[in-house]
């Protein structure tokens, strides 16, 4: 029994220590990032890496999510004659929930993994040490541009995901389920409030920051060669995905409960 309690205690302590390290890492990176020198070129490069190159995967995922949602809700709502709510359900689900969560998860898989692998490789090949010896703070040079780009880029991606997702629902609604295009669009607009969109965009900013933070953190502290880098990549994706779902609940509660 004592051994069991000791192992629970040890696990709790190591979890709290890891949380502390993560918060310190983020804090140090933010402080380094807001003090000169600044690296706008690197931030721009990360905008392209995170935003532009994720457009296809996020767009396709949002399109099919909107299409499936329309189809699923139509079939389910037919049981209690609520088919007319398809357009409203699609637009609210996509803007409030599915747009930010799916975009966040896709970016975690595509960008978070790449960040962890790149920074992890730089760690194990001593390139991060080399940065320090060349009077360059690795947190300011490597981490902050990624955090900033993650924070600012994901809302744009989610805005596009929202539009594409709603369009996916529209395609299915009109061509598969036989809705009238004008009434579908009226239904889409009627119950949509600006808070539905902005809450999704705020979630997106938080998720973007979390994805970049986990990618950078896991990469920065990776060790042990190729195996360590592989492990860091896995941890980056898994931890970012779990945090996205966890934070989604608390943010939803904060916005709408």
């Amino acid at each position: 029994m004592i051994r069991f309690l000791a192992s629970v205690g040890a696990l709790t302590l190591s979890f709290l220590a890891a949380c502390g390290r993560l918060v310190l890492f983020a804090g140090r990176a933010i402080i380094a990032g807001v003090t000169p020198p600044y690296y706008p070129r690197l931030v721009l490069r990360q905008f392209v890496a995170i935003g532009y190159f994720s457009l296809t995967v996020v767009g396709l995922t949002a399109l099919f999510t909107g299409m499936v949602l329309a189809l699923q809700f139509y079939v389910a709502s037919a049981r209690f004659n609520a088919e007319s709510a398809v357009a409203t359900v699609v637009v609210l689900s996509v803007t409030r929930e599915l747009g930010p969560v799916i975009a966040g998860l896709m970016v975690a898989g595509r960008v978070g993994a790449a960040m962890a692998a790149e920074i992890g490789t730089m760690r194990v090949t001593e390139q991060i040490d080399a940065l320090t010896t060349l009077s360059t703070d690795p947190l300011r040079y490597l981490v902050w541009p990624r955090l900033l780009a993650g924070l600012l880029t994901l809302p744009f991606l989610v805005l596009i995901a929202d539009i594409v997702g709603v369009f996916g629902g529209y395609i299915v609604g009109i061509y598969k389920l036989g809705f009238n295009p004008a009434s579908y669009l009226t239904q889409t607009q009627e119950y949509l409030k600006s808070a539905d969109v902005t809450s999704g965009l705020i979630k997106a900013a938080v998720f973007g920051f979390v994805v970049a933070l986990m990618g950078c953190y896991q990469g920065y502290y990776s060790r042990g060669g190729a195996e360590g880098v592989g492990q860091a990549t896995t941890y980056a994706v898994v931890s970012a995905s779990i945090l996205i779902l966890l934070l989604d609940y608390f943010l939803t509660q904060a916005f709408f409960a």
Partner: protein, 262 residues
């Protein structure tokens, strides 16, 4: 490479200790390097040579002890002060540690552009000069590090280390993984660059050919302590059983091989 004779040592390490968990790597290192001197720290794999160098550079925080550069305490120094101090240093890493995402000249000029705010055009000119100093022509300037052989990467890394004309140069296993001819070229370039800059040099290696070529003074690290130090000329008759065993590469003797890396 001879000391210039100033009274304050360029580098003074005292009582330096560093452990990783239960493993004690440095157990009270005492070491001084005079300005303009080239010191080579020798020792077997896993004896803590790299840890010692990383502590002096500030890449690792020591658990206890003092590290003075030009008489000023630097152990535990952080932030802007550390960045300022780093300007005195140049480092050649064992695996070269060139940045994959940058081409050769951008690697060499990195410290000038990002660390000192020099414009890209003058920094490129300096980079080409430094590449020439290590025997590389302008045709390699736009290549990526991955396109170069190990020896060429070492030369580029050496050019990067000397680009900002640092006061102190560190060399981590400079000839490891190179063929004997390329190793000799790198040794010659190290001597040439250190002399040319009038810099102080600290190298760590277990390559005795390299040691004889680049050292003014040699120190031997074993079990976390300096067990012998003296002029490079005395290395063959040091009177120290650890040094004798190491220099002659004998299996029999007081040195026991470390199983785990430091």
């Amino acid at each position: 490479m001879t000391p210039t004779g100033t009274s304050i040592p360029k580098i003074a390490v005292s009582g330096l200790q560093k452990s990783f968990g239960a493993k004690r790597v440095l157990a009270g290192v005492e070491l001084e390097v005079a300005a303009g001197e080239s010191l080579v720290v020798i020792g077997g794999s896993g004896t803590g040579k790299s840890v010692l160098m990383k502590c002096i550079l500030g890449l690792l925080d020591p658990d206890a002890g003092s590290i003075r550069i030009d008489g000023e305490e630097t152990a535990g120094l952080g932030g802007r002060h550390r960045e300022q101090l780093m300007r005195k240093f140049g480092m050649l890493f064992q695996g070269s540690a060139l940045f994959d995402s940058l081409n050769v000249w951008e690697n060499v000029a990195f410290g000038l552009i990002e660390g000192r705010g020099v414009g890209r055009r003058p920094a490129r000119e300096t980079a080409l000069q430094k590449l020439a100093a290590v025997g590389l022509g302008p045709e390699v300037a736009t290549l990526r590090p991955a396109e170069l052989s190990g020896g060429m990467q070492k030369r580029v890394a050496l050019a990067r280390a000397i680009a900002a004309e640092p006061e102190i140069l560190f060399f981590d296993e400079p000839t490891t993984g190179l063929d004997p001819i390329m190793a000799d070229v790198i040794n010659r370039l190290i001597v040439q660059c250190v002399r040319g800059l009038g810099a102080t040099a600290v190298s760590i290696t277990h390559d005795m050919v390299s040691t004889r070529k680049i050292a003014d003074r040699v120190a031997m690290l074993y079990q976390g302590r300096i067990v012998w130090q003296g002029p490079a000329a005395d290395i063959d008759n040091s009177g120290n059983q650890f040094v004798d065993q190491f220099v002659h590469g004998r299996e029999q003797g007081p040195i026991r091989m470390e199983v785990r890396a430091a």
